[in-house]
Symmetry: D2
Subunit: 412 residues, 4 copies
């Protein structure tokens, strides 16, 4: 990664303050009990996100680079380390929901102390590590929203974190047109200027075959057609693993869709809302995305096709997160960036010449390069300023608690 | 059950107020997050106990017996019903820890409203149902303490709910003597005067063979001898199911015993404390109790033997719960009541002529009469006034998060 | 146990030869592959039963009592030991179906060699161990038939081991009458004359309350009424564990009942046959038996009630196994012995004063005294001569691949 | 796929006869019980392989293309269909080991009847389907050997299917040299002449970066160094999923390696043999291959790199299967084809422009394109004539019962 943060405001200090403040703002309405919920092993309590991001700064910046720095609390390293094996033992992932103490207020206190120490010494600290830490925190902002949605969905009262907006049926769009993509040898991967995670590079040549991408992502209206056609009951539309998943989990709609009478509602941090057929479908697994594409006579884009199409676009121009207010996928947002993550047909694997970063932070991405698929573009819960054309998100094919949708592609 | 509560203070109202107040006092030091923890499906959050006991009074007393009573919140029935199938759908047991809302304060508000309504109408309400509800609440007071211990044990910080007492090594007692028991036809079961759960009756004759009971329960010092002798690694000492459990769960000591250097500490609501060898062993499973008895050349008492020995003793005279302060098994307490529950060798089955109570409250005990073993006598976490000679507690053979110990018996 | 076998023919040698021959006759029509099937961990391959019973004689009789005896094959002890921890390591129970070698013919060869060695030395060998081995082999004859039924039921071709008999609708009997039982102090348990397993003793006094037993076991016609009444969907009829089992396993009829059009067929070693409503219901779990009794306004007998009623009857007079031909529960057989095992409401626990036999054979019964329920009387697959009034069979409450039915009881 | 079979002998008929005869020869020494063993859900009984390959010819060739053809046995379609959802219901995969009937001899009879019918009409039958069926059968020949090895490994007697060869320590080779690979745009994928599975095409351009491949695969001697260095205990060497697998399964060596005193033996169809350090390591998972490459400072080749290097080589020139005799990986065999399958770092995904074949046979490959990794080159158990430079084998990252090894690659 490079040492210059893109979209840096006046200074690194201001950027640091802004990112850190947004995390707190997102959690502002939570009770201590809300912030301690862990609805599944894949998810973490909000409190844990607030603490773990702080642990990153305290460990890799303050402890390693401020002479004589004393840890705020020795026990927090055990509690709030995540997967950094090089940093020693840690609380088992599936038991993060057992940490009622320290309280949310105590975590806020720790955040304040670390922020004060870091901002006080920022001129003498390695900017690249701080920028890495901020990007890491932005990832956890999105994860915190995802995990809260999953947690609150478990409560039969269906609580809303944000005010419930009035219901709004949008105009369902006409069938999507197609955009012809680049062909032949192209370059993809992070350019080297500005921040990028290690897995985004090195920049390298790859070969694109004639293809087109849809002009917009698939809508809920189109997904209702998929359901109405009996797709969830037709094994021939599914990957073998996908069909096993559909049957084992009794899947019959996207996550958070709830049957209400003859129709559907969908749950989010704005509570249970009528399903808007014009909005992009979201919270679908790779299996569902892939099956939908087959049903539609199309396929998913590769990550190289997607990145090639996105390279010249403004990555900050979409429906993204920049306040602690209601965020949700919006109808009519058709750009490649923001709104919903787009599943690609590419496995998350190292690029040619990939080398992980040195040290414990190098555990960050490379160790997950097996069994996961790439998503591109960011979503409404991705902080504005965090997206890039080269950004590679990745999840297992069955996962769907992120804001995931799809855009079709086809061979020409 | 009968309509007169034993040990009733001045009046039923005062008794009601005292029991309800103790529940709140026990939870007084908990945060909302503490009170929402569910460490395993067998356990429930403290908040849930406070709510479920209130649901009992609101449903079976106020709703059913106060004309025009309006439920405090319609949704609470779903959230806080437990196993009463006759009362409709309910939150899945294993997901009770997902209920961050309503908050602990909101539950306290509900409790206050129900208490006010009930006390205001108490003269017109069926005393037997109220007494049943109070006994039910006392059971949940003990469960709440058990579940909190299990929850806090999951936190690597090992938080103490109550002040940590200074460590006190007691005097390890000499080998236990034996008390000869009654023989021939005896009567056991609830007499009919005062309150009893349906499973305690009917009173009936049974036949006792010549036997003796140990004068005290087994100590931790004796258990250390069992460990030192390699008992956890010797299949010939164990029931077949017990040996499978020892191996599958890698059991090598009672629950909450923690290896510290060459010795042991034990965890409780007073935090992690040095193991006192003189105190009775507790938090052992039936499998462990039964294996210890075999190792010691003895056996467990039957419930009839135990009850026959206990019938003439004061059930309220032991180490029992009567305040929200540190409670723990005490060395030197040798009586049959209080201190630790005593595993018997009797399966929890209906007595001759048993009939469950009518209506939804009749689901209470009879449906659990399969696969569980009886424990007798109460423990340090059982509210004073709740124990009886005829009281039948019951757990599965592998369970050990209750304060369970053992007293040996032998044939004469 | 005593050294005299009851119903011994001319001599112990002749009895030995007859029991051993019946095992081979029962397996005569099996292929090597048939005899290697293990349909579930609870069941064993027929080949394993033939081998394990031989291992018992070779180990505990020949090896221990014939000077200089050399094992037929050293490796067989590992392969065909079952649960005797004292006899060392053994093939994991769930992987017994992986033993394609030695072949069925090789096992037969081993049996012949052991039989020759044992019969050649029988005068010098301990008769009590041989009698124990023969009773053990008779148990395995029944298990072999049970396990084969389970195995063949897995084959969609529904093969019949025995010729398919023509279908025979019997006369459905009138409602059962009641037999008044003994009251007060009675004696039960093995008398001491003739063979008995250690768990059948010691003979001891117990107390019976006024009660009656039904004159016959419950029929399939009556079970159809239980089904038609919606009993499998009514939680209030079931024990808590039983209701969980019904839901988890989607139980809606006895094992081996197969829906055919509007009616039912039932599978057995005589293949798939029309259900005869007059025959006793069989292959039901304890949960089902207990629920049926509750539905019928009755209860299950205790084992003491059952034994007291059976003590004066001829234990060999029922529908029992004495040839390798079709065996099945028969309509109109109403006695306490044979036809179907009868679930009791008694847990399988040690009698007062129980002591396991010494040595490895003492592992036989005592270690299973937890979590299981007692059945009485034997069934059509129990070898004639094996049943006794004091005989205690035992299974877990969910198991039902044995020929298990029920007889109602009620309090007077 | 094309209609011409490569390496066709005199005629399609002769080729058909030869392939079908090899299947029988491989199973010639098996008993009916051996042929019925299913050691795990991933594996199938030998009998099932012999039957399923026959079902393919009977269903897709005879039934669909011979007017008036009558199925040999209607029930076999249910029993021996595998994953063809379009062909209806089938025996659950995990229960294939329950099919003791039909017997191995009956399956042989079915094979003979199908062969006779097919050879009698071969001139009028679609050659491409027959060639597909023969390639399908060759795949199952290899699977049958893999599955038998897994099955016999479960038997503590460690039976050998083939004669045990005398042990032979080979000469351990010097460190491997490197071969520079092609760079820039290359073409890979099936050419179109001769048979290929649908997933091997279409032929297409891709881009290769500067790289080199090792001149030979990794040896067992090198793997012993990996073990000796503590690699199985070092989380930093492993993918995240791989580390979880190592811990959950307690992995500490390749599959079939058995500790013997201070050294290792390895199991195969030739029984338990001393480990030859010079022979290529085999039976390793993708996780292990990937960790080894990281440990060695190298990486796995991509499938395009591998195919580009292999395109000009003779695919039939290696250590491959062409008789029913002992087959095992051989020391000193360094070619890309045969000996051991080589894990690549490529996920098994569709090539650009991929379309599955039409009809039920089109279910063949495309539905598995998720979560699996590509292996290349064939192994000692792959029938000679079956391998191709474009051949794509695929397994899940944790699987290792195939003859899988690795060849290192590195960036230049």
């Amino acid at each position: 990664m490079a040492t210059q943060a893109r979209a840096e405001p006046d200074s690194l200090a201001a950027h640091y303050a802004a990112v850190r403040a947004l995390s707190l703002a997102l959690a502002a309405s939570l009770s201590d009990a809300d912030a301690s919920l862990q609805p599944m092993p894949d998810a973490s309590p909000a409190k844990w996100h607030l603490a773990h991001t702080t642990w990153f700064f305290e460990t890799f910046v303050l402890r390693d680079h401020v002479p004589g720095y004393r840890l705020y609390d020795e026990s927090f390293a055990y509690l709030f380390n995540s997967y950094y094996e090089g940093e020693g033992e840690r609380q088992p992932r599936a038991r993060r929901g057992m940490i009622s103490r320290p309280s949310l207020d105590e975590i806020r206190g720790w955040r304040a102390a670390v922020d004060e120490a870091l901002l006080g010494a920022i001129g003498a600290l390695p900017a690249d590590l701080i920028v890495l830490g901020l990007n890491h925190e932005q990832q956890h902002q999105e994860l915190m929203l995802m995990d809260l949605t999953a947690a609150f969905f478990e409560n039969p009262l269906r609580p809303a974190v944000w005010p419930r907006a009035p219901s709004w049926p949008s105009v369902v769009p006409a069938p999507s047109g197609w955009m012809r993509g680049a062909e032949g040898v192209v370059e993809i991967g992070h350019e080297g200027g500005g921040f990028g995670f290690d897995c985004e590079g090195p920049r390298h040549r790859t070969f694109l075959h004639p293809h087109a991408l849809a002009e917009r992502t698939v809508t809920s209206a189109e997904w209702l057609g998929f359901i109405a056609d009996g797709a969830y009951a037709d094994p021939l539309l599914w990957l073998s693993d996908g069909w096993a998943w559909v049957q084992d989990e009794a899947i019959e709609a996207p996550l958070y869709w709830v049957k209400e009478g003859d129709g559907w509602a969908r749950f989010g941090l704005d509570g249970l809302q009528p399903l808007d057929p014009a909005e992009p479908v979201s919270h679908i697994s790779y299996y569902e995305a892939e099956a939908f594409a087959r049903w539609a006579g199309a396929r998913l884009p590769t990550e190289a096709e997607w990145e090639s199409a996105a390279a010249s676009l403004d990555p900050d121009g979409g429906n993204q997160l920049d306040r602690a207010g209601p965020v949700r996928p919006l109808a009519g947002e058709t750009g490649l960036f923001g709104n919903v993550w787009e599943w690609t047909g590419s496995a998350y694997l190292p690029y040619p010449g990939f080398r992980p970063a040195e040290g414990a932070v190098g555990e960050y991405n490379g160790k997950f390069m097996c069994g996961q698929m790439v998503l591109r573009g960011g979503c409404c819960a991705t902080p504005r300023g965090h997206a890039r054309a080269s950004y590679r998100n990745f999840y297992y094919p069955h996962q769907r608690w992120m804001v995931s949708g799809l855009r079709l592609a086809r061979d020409l």
